[in-house]
């Protein structure tokens, strides 16, 4: 009966397996929920089929799609809101720009739709603070209804809880793996890059070995071993200034996540492309810079290299000597990047610009080529893939 739904989920590349489907069937069979209630079925299938909050939003969308038209028979008491109220409200709240945008999107009728929807959604969240509808009062929307505490609509609380289908609310949209980035999520993504090893001073008692050796020799023979540690070592290069200003927040987050994740991490800044020097402090970049040669000589080749930058510049800045916008570079950026890649086998480029634009930017294509396609978008998914690549 739900086979189609299951295949819809599969098609939307949600990681669902037969085992989970059978589990759901078993639960239905055992009457965990009343099978005539769509909401309960939604909750149950979500709990059985989705195992990671990243996929909740996708699941909601597929569910909405698969069971379109399947409404709650008793929940259909959507309150009509007079058109002119909505129109007045639209005029009150939309800037000229937005009005224009809506005109271009399909005019007022469409706007009415949206506003209606918004109003429906608002019913439950009446104290939301920054949202614009409250149920503090009972007067129905009087006198164009604007006051600092919000517009009031005569709506009894709780009466209409089911007007909006739960899955259509898409409450988990910002947990979707393709969208959100927070330090926490970055850290999880970075954790792919781990290689535990016992190295260094022997500080832990190796119990098994001690027992074995004691039994073998006939007297107590204590064996020690080094502690288990993540031995991944990372060099991070950040592009700063210019077009990167728009991406400061995400870079900050990546930086702070990387800092706590990797014990052995060094970071450097560069501008647009790698040339003969990098720096560690943006305020003193001209006085206190570090020769790129020194970097190449200081850090052994088992370091993993991560470049972060939008790779958006004039192609000359990469391919020609003297192409840099800031100073006369004797050797081209390409030479330096290739040099870097020759030393460090594991290197990738993270790009904060969405992947679909890459092909249209000449310099991005060039760098991607230099990195033999090891360029990844700066999203959770991207970092995830990048870390797998670095682990190879």
């Amino acid at each position: 009966m739900f086979i189609n739904f299951f295949f819809d989920l599969k098609q939307a590349s949600l990681p669902v397996s037969l085992k989970e489907y059978l589990m759901l069937m078993e639960a239905m069979n055992k009457r965990v929920v009343d099978s005539f209630n769509v909401n309960d079925f939604y909750y149950l299938s979500r709990s059985a089929l989705v195992k990671d909050e990243r996929y909740l939003d996708k699941f909601d969308r597929v569910f909405g799609h698969s069971f379109k038209g399947l409404e709650n028979p008793e929940g259909e008491t959507t309150k009509e809101i007079p058109e002119e109220w909505l129109k007045l409200m639209g005029q009150k709240y939309l800037t000229d720009e937005e009005k224009k945008m809506i005109e271009s999107l399909g005019g007022w009728d469409k706007l009415m739709e949206t506003l209606k929807q918004r109003l429906e959604e608002q019913k439950k969240r009446h104290q939301g603070g920054s949202k614009w509808i409250g149920t503090g009062g009972t007067s129905p929307f009087g006198a164009y209804g604007y006051n600092p505490e919000g517009i009031r609509i005569g709506q009894k609380e709780g009466k209409n809880k089911k007007a909006v289908k739960v899955w259509d609310k898409r409450e988990f949209s910002n947990l979707d793996g393709d969208v959100e980035l927070g330090t926490r999520n970055i850290k999880i993504a970075l954790r792919r890059l781990r290689k535990f090893a016992r190295e260094g001073a022997e500080t832990e008692l190796d119990l098994d070995n001690t027992i074995k050796s004691t039994a073998h020799k006939g007297y107590i023979d204590v064996k020690m071993m080094p502690e288990r540690r993540n031995k991944i070592k990372v060099l991070l290069f950040f592009d700063v200034g210019g077009s990167m200003d728009a991406h400061i927040k995400i870079c900050e987050e990546l930086f702070s996540a990387a800092r706590t994740e990797f014990k052995h991490m060094e970071y450097f800044y560069y501008h647009n492309c790698l040339y003969d020097a990098v720096w560690k402090d943006n305020n003193r970049r001209y006085n206190d810079n570090i020769k790129t040669w020194d970097v190449l000589h200081t850090y052994p080749s088992d370091y993993k290299v991560i470049f972060v930058g939008d790779a958006e510049m004039s192609p000359y800045e990469i391919t020609y000597p003297g192409g840099s916008v800031e100073f006369w570079n004797e050797e081209s950026g390409e030479t330096w990047l290739t040099r870097m890649l020759n030393v460090y086998e594991n290197a990738i480029w993270l790009n904060p610009i969405p992947e679909r634009y890459w092909d249209r930017i000449a310099s991005t294509s060039i760098i991607k080529q230099i990195f033999s396609d090891r360029m990844f978008p700066l999203t959770i998914e991207g970092i995830d893939q990048a870390m797998r690549e670095l682990n190879k």
Partner: protein, 284 residues
């Protein structure tokens, strides 16, 4: 056996469905969610509402799966053998039971809480696959098989610090506790402080959700922080009027230390308050 929430714990509809599915199908349930949304509490409340014993197993970075089953104390046995202790002849004396063993032995169906499973090593969940699936394990030292008399209700919490293996996830139900909406939040507060003033709550909520929506805030305040803050407001007997204060000079809420736990966030908040103050003055 059905879980319906308790007088001290507000369970949303979807949470109830998920928990009941796990109870009926005798499978573990994994609970995730923002810190402070009551993941650990859930297990205790389920136990309370079903009148079952709760067995908690707190996971640390050093915890091994084997420790949940049993541990064989080889060192003590070695020492005893050198002293010629009689106990040494029976290996059972040196096997100490783990939490899983305890849960399997229980006469009545217990609730087993495996708290913060993501703290352990990546392989940890895989090592428990069979044990949680079949609810039995084999003790090599004595050659006996321990089988659950009553399959315990297994509740596993995770803070998402590590990804759990797919094979493990496939065998479990999953629930993500989302941050409560104001209605649910009101019920939660009601449960904790039944005699709090209504208008105080209204205003406090407004501030609380406003703070959560401040862009760029590093650590959003959670339910438990709201409850602490309300407690402070109540003990200080702060009037709702003060919270409603629109005077830009007093934009920072009283006792904000309970909500903002990070000095960058406090700075950010103060800066925003400062900007809005300046804007207001310009208007005047």
């Amino acid at each position: 056996m059905k879980f319906e929430g308790t007088s001290s714990y507000i369970a949303t509809e979807d949470l109830k469905v998920a928990v009941n599915a796990a109870i009926t199908l005798e499978r573990p349930i994994i609970v995730k969610g923002e810190p402070g949304t009551g993941k650990t509490m859930l297990a205790h409340e389920v136990a309370k509402s079903l009148d079952a014993e709760i067995i908690t197993w707190h996971i640390k970075s050093t915890t091994k799966a084997q420790q949940g089953l049993y541990e064989y104390d080889a060192v003590t046995r070695l020492r005893d053998s050198q002293l010629g202790d009689e106990k040494v002849k029976d290996i059972k004396n040196y096997i100490s039971k783990g939490k899983l063993w305890n849960a399997f032995e229980s006469d009545k169906r217990p609730v087993l809480l495996i708290d913060e499973i993501d703290k352990a090593d990546i392989e940890f969940p895989n090592d428990l696959l069979l044990e949680l699936d079949k609810m039995e394990f084999f003790v090599y030292e004595t050659g006996e098989t321990i089988k659950a008399q009553n399959r315990p209700i297994v509740i596993i919490t995770s803070n998402n610090e590590k990804e759990l293996p797919d094979a493990f996830l496939r065998r479990c139900f999953f629930h993500y506790i989302k941050f409560p909406d104001p209605n649910t939040m009101e019920e939660i507060v009601e449960v904790h402080y039944p005699d709090i003033k209504k208008d105080l709550i209204q205003e406090a909520f407004k501030i609380f959700y406003d703070i959560r929506e401040v862009p760029g805030i590093k650590k959003k305040p959670s339910t438990s922080e709201l409850i602490d803050w309300l407690k402070l407001l109540m003990t200080d007997d702060v009037d709702a009027k003060i919270l409603r204060e629109k005077d830009p000079k007093k934009l920072i809420p009283p006792l904000h230390g309970a909500l903002l736990k990070n000095e960058q966030d406090v700075h950010l908040f103060e800066r925003l308050a400062f900007i809005s103050r300046r804007e207001n003055e310009n208007v005047e």
